[in-house]
Symmetry: C2
Subunit: 224 residues, 2 copies
């Protein structure tokens, strides 16, 4: 749970379905640590008391724009955002996160792992596609005690085929307070969203298309 639009809406969906929930976030050396505060606040707002924040420093493995001091791409147009795998790709990130979630699921005897992966309004990450999620689920059931001797593990990605606008509408209908969510890859001092990275641009576009006002405070007030 990153504290962004997708994972927060996913949490609200799981909550609505009545499950006993452990929220899981990662402190992985990301530059945008403000998201962890957002994740904490979202979890509290949904009355999730079991929130695990796992330390796994992905900087041990080298760089991406999300963990190293290199420039996050700004002001890319829709075509650019949709083309290829961008520099913000973190090698095997969802695989690492889902693997750790899998361990936690086994320990908590949970049967479902919810992930806010989205293959529509996304940034071209291969580990957000439905075929990847299915392959992870298969592997998870072959490689764990829960899969082999227990009830099995399901990976649920309820937003995988939704547009960002649909996700925002769905979250809003569930009463999610989007002012608590945080999407920016490159926040400026004080924690304001930059308004120009891919993630901010996708978020802005989603709110506009949903016809819902975006409660985010963006750093840039002047249009260039």
């Amino acid at each position: 749970m990153s504290g962004g639009v997708d994972s927060s809406t996913t949490l609200a969906i799981a909550k609505k379905q009545g499950h006993t929930i452990t929220a899981l976030s990662f402190d992985y050396g990301q530059r945008h640590k403000y998201e962890l505060n957002a994740a904490r606040q979202i979890a509290q707002s949904l009355n999730i008391t079991d929130h695990v924040i796992v330390n796994i420093d992905l900087r041990q493995f080298g760089s991406s724009a999300l963990t190293a001091p290199i420039n996050v791409p700004k002001k890319r147009d829709e075509k650019e955002i949709g083309m290829g795998i961008p520099i913000t790709y973190v090698p095997a990130r969802n695989t690492i996160f889902l693997s750790l979630a899998l361990a936690l699921a086994e320990i908590r005897q949970a049967r479902r792992i919810f992930i806010g992966a989205n293959a529509i309004d996304y940034s071209g990450y291969p580990d957000c596609r439905p075929e990847y999620i299915k392959a992870f689920e298969k592997m998870a059931n072959l490689g764990t005690k829960a899969g082999v001797e227990g009830d099995g593990i399901t990976i649920e990605a309820p937003l995988i085929n939704s547009t960002k606008a649909d996700i925002i509408k769905r979250g809003t209908a569930l009463g999610l307070d989007f002012s608590l969510t945080f999407s920016c890859y490159d926040p400026v001092d004080g924690g304001l969203a930059c308004g120009e990275c891919d993630s901010c641009l996708l978020r802005k576009k989603g709110f506009i298309q949903a016809g819902i006002s975006d409660p985010t405070k963006y750093a840039l007030k002047v249009k260039v």
Copy 2:
């Protein structure tokens, strides 16, 4: 690379095949940390200069006999060792390790990940079976830039169908110094192998069946 018989022999096999090698070991909160010293010495003995030791504290997730202060099973007979998934199972361990290896492989632009998984003389872990390894490989190629845009990633488990005796013969033929390897799950003070845990028992049996003398110094001199 744990520094045990299987991962050390796997390293020797990869080296013999002429690959440029990054060795990868994990400091995961295991009680048997002596194995990390063994891993370092084995890597040095094979002239591997790039040896990454990743910190990922699996104790964040709860307990198994390998990370928590509970009793490692001792003096189990072959039938007991072969039956079911034992208490020493660490939830999703190989999935977590392979996921982190996958990230490192992408960063190093490696195309192959070697793992010493073994489904014959093993302790009943589901994440050591060929079908699991194949499923991980498929997932890895769907979920990474290396898989989608690059040359793909192969998971190589050259010992998966070998007996422990065959592995020891193969390592010996490759000139591996087994006195540097360490297998025990529950070493006694000073780092001597206990001689009674599943891993020690499988190792002992393997050397006997291979007709090769076991250079391990075991703590127990008195037969009970």
